[in-house]
């Protein structure tokens, strides 16, 4: 192999690309050709092409330029210096193995192209192809390659959406109906995020995205549109109950166990226009009320159950 590399190096310098004796280029900018010229034997000395020994990767590139392909002789005739690894890449192999690698290369190439095309179609707007073959794209992408990069696009969100909840409690000693005031759950999140360099997903995403999920899976008259709608309702109930469990009820213990029904409403407040802006926008909030939901055992976490028994003790 030494001979082949040297032959190649000679070949290259014969083309007169770079006069010998020119100051050596730094490893970082050296092209494979110059590297081969500067040290024609180097690649053989390190046939494994250990990356650590080739900081810029340029020296390793020599391997690629080792032209074994147009030379007769099986790799088994390699000099003893290459005994640890017979060779690298497709050129270090005999024909049957080369065929295997070639087939693999073709498969990998096709697979890569198809995958990238599918991802492209998945993130692209609806178009002729996705209208015709949307099913195939979805089959390929979902669930593990799903992605959405419309970050603050096409327009950033311009409303602060809050979730408020009120609860109907078990009747008091006088048998009268007791209902709490509206409790702002989003305000709890905001409080936790303020001056927090690394907010938790439970503060920044959980409620925010649960409401998104709820709104996206409900019709305008607040009815769930399918399986995900019912899932989102139970999710919201469980989330609300978790928050209510942490609050103190009128009896002194946790509020959660006393809750029989809850009602949710969302409050939208437009971000007020900037001082430097000429725009004026509505500053009054708009409300959307959801119906009263009865709380069942499935809406309570197992933890709240134990807290009740502890409280009863």
């Amino acid at each position: 192999m030494d001979a082949y590399v040297e032959k190649d190096a000679v070949e290259v310098s014969e083309e007169g690309l770079r006069p010998p004796g020119e100051p050596p280029v730094t490893a970082a900018e050296s092209s494979p050709v110059t590297a081969a010229e500067d040290s024609p034997v180097a690649p053989v000395a390190d046939p494994s092409g250990a990356p650590a020994a080739a900081p810029s990767g340029a020296a390793a590139e020599d391997q690629a330029s080792t032209p074994a392909e147009d030379l007769p002789g099986a790799p088994s005739e390699a000099p003893p210096s290459a005994d640890k690894v017979a060779g690298v890449g497709i050129m270090g192999l005999s024909l049957p193995y080369q065929v295997v690698v070639a087939v693999a290369l073709a498969v990998v190439a096709v697979f890569t192209c198809v995958h990238l095309a599918m991802v492209f179609l998945h993130v692209a707007p609806s178009n002729t192809l996705t209208k015709r073959h949307g099913e195939a794209v979805s089959d390929w992408i979902y669930p593990e390659f799903e992605q959405n990069w419309k970050l603050f696009a096409p327009n950033p969100l311009q409303t602060n959406l809050s979730v408020e909840v009120r609860a109907e409690l078990t009747p008091g000693a006088d048998g009268g109906r007791r209902t709490t005031a509206w409790i702002d759950l989003t305000a709890q999140d905001i409080e936790a995020i303020r001056h927090n360099p690394m907010p938790s997903h439970s503060q920044q995403n959980q409620l925010r995205r649960a409401v998104d999920f709820l709104l996206n899976t409900h019709t305008d008259d607040n009815r769930p549109n399918g399986m995900r709608g019912t899932l989102s309702e139970q999710y919201m109930r469980r989330l609300a109950m978790l928050r209510l469990d942490a609050l103190e009820g009128p009896a002194g213990g946790s509020l959660g166990p006393e809750v029989r029904r809850i009602q949710l409403r969302t409050v939208s407040r437009l971000v007020p226009a900037a001082r430097w802006s000429t725009e004026k926008n509505r500053t009054t909030p708009s409300y959307r009320d959801f119906p009263w939901w009865t709380i069942t055992q499935a809406d309570r976490s197992a933890g709240s159950d134990t807290s009740r028994t502890e409280a009863g003790r």
Partner: protein, 421 residues
């Protein structure tokens, strides 16, 4: 990442020669070892920090009795067929084990211990937790989810890893004529993981698409085959497997780079269509959303100038749309890379999204120039040595890096600095 300018020699070379050279390159070499290593380090660090940060909230986010309960998740997963081992049991102990293993795999991937095997465990951990509760994630989780899958195919532990250190040590020993040390840990790890895989397949309850278990089996068998071949047939069969591994690595590297381009293209081109990005006021709004303003004073300060908001809004769109095209020019690409990483660093603080930002910076890092990465690596090694008061010779596994001239100082410290290698 062959960014090397086309040399006259290449231009004059006949097409078939160039093709052969290309085929040899993608089968014979692990391209961009430093870039894949920094991506590995970046994402494992992101995931590790995330898991540690969420430790107190883990039950609320992913636990069987969290608001998104195990039953709810099961009903959704029956529909979307996502992969998560958390569906195997609704027990609390199982959840703690999975979370613990996820933390462990992130730490091990960070330092590059048995990189390939650990990257598979890492992927299983990431998919299991993120797919378990899909409604608590954001863009950062989305990038991590994709990266965890892609990393499995890469040889991301060739540098800056314990694996690389071990390989260097073994090579030194071989050169000194010492007999190779028997590796016990590798086969043991393989058997343990195989046991898990067998149990999972046996119970037949492997949730998710069919290709996930197939992929796991292929990887497991492939690793075993590699071990056998290295011992019994170090000639051509080994070269063949090596070529296939290189092929997968290089192809997936292209996929990762294309993904980053798609992310920026999507983000940029959709913004162009928005009226707020057109009139240059867009940035004002996220700064005034309660969920994304942990530092109201800073947000107000930045949002107080209309011109500043417009410049930043326009700049964001221009950079995002332009980035994929700048890949054709090394210098412009590097400038935009610095701008984008700086912007993400700003987002981390201003919008309170450090995990998202770190994930995006990790993805961007695939485009960092090798010279910079080598310089960074040398700096980290030197810093570590100074910290541990070691003499350079003791830890000179990466020593060639130290001799490289510091020619490309960008003045920014983007890469997550970790004491590895």
């Amino acid at each position: 990442m062959s960014m090397s300018p086309a040399t006259p020699a290449r231009a004059r070379e006949p097409f078939d020669r160039r093709l052969a050279r290309g085929v040899q390159a993608v089968t014979g070499r692990t391209l961009a070892p430093y870039q894949s290593a920094i991506v590995r380090i970046g994402f494992s660090l992101t995931w590790l920090l995330f898991l540690l940060r969420e430790l107190p909230y883990r039950h609320q986010l992913y636990g069987p009795d969290g608001p998104w309960s195990w039953e709810l998740a099961q009903r959704l997963i029956a529909d979307n067929r996502a992969f998560t081992v958390l569906m195997w049991s609704d027990g609390r102990l199982w959840f703690e084990i999975v979370y613990g293993l996820a933390v462990l795999s992130a730490a091990l991937l960070l330092v590059g211990w048995r990189t390939r095997a650990v990257s598979v465990v890492f992927m299983v951990g990431v998919l299991s937790l993120l797919n378990r509760s899909v409604f608590v994630g954001d863009g950062g989780d989305n990038v991590l989810h994709l990266a965890a899958i892609y990393l499995v195919f890469t040889r991301c532990g060739r540098v800056w890893s314990l694996d690389a250190r071990r390989a260097a040590r073994e090579e030194r020993a071989a050169r000194a004529g010492e007999p190779p040390r028997r590796d016990v840990v590798g086969p043991l790890l393989w058997v343990v993981l195989g046991g898990f895989l067998l149990a999972a397949t046996w119970f037949g309850d492997v949730s998710g698409e069919w290709w996930v278990p197939v992929l796991l089996w292929v990887l497991w068998l492939g690793n075993g085959l590699w071990w056998l071949v290295c011992r019994l047939a170090p000639g051509e069969p080994r070269t063949l497997l090596d070529a296939l591994a290189n092929l997968a690595h290089n192809a997936v590297l292209v996929v990762i780079m294309a993904e980053v381009c798609l992310i920026y293209s999507t983000a940029g081109w959709y913004k162009i269509q928005g009226s707020r990005w057109q009139d240059g006021t867009a940035l004002f709004y996220p700064l005034h959303l309660d969920y994304f303003s942990p530092w109201p004073f800073l947000s107000d300060l930045l949002g107080s100038s209309g011109v500043m908001v417009m410049l930043l809004s326009y700049g964001t769109v221009i950079v995002q749309v332009a980035f994929p095209f700048t890949l054709f020019n090394r210098k412009v690409k590097n400038v935009l890379l610095v701008v984008m990483m700086a912007e993400h660093a700003g987002i981390a603080v201003l919008l309170g999204l450090p995990v998202f930002s770190l994930a995006m910076i990790s993805a961007d890092a695939v485009f960092l120039p090798t010279a910079f990465l080598v310089w960074l690596g040398a700096r980290v090694v030197r810093g570590r040595d100074r910290l541990l008061k070691r003499t350079p010779t003791e830890s000179s596994d990466e020593s060639p890096a130290e001799t490289l001239p510091e020619q490309r100082r960008t003045g920014e410290e983007h890469g997550p600095r970790t004491l590895v290698g």
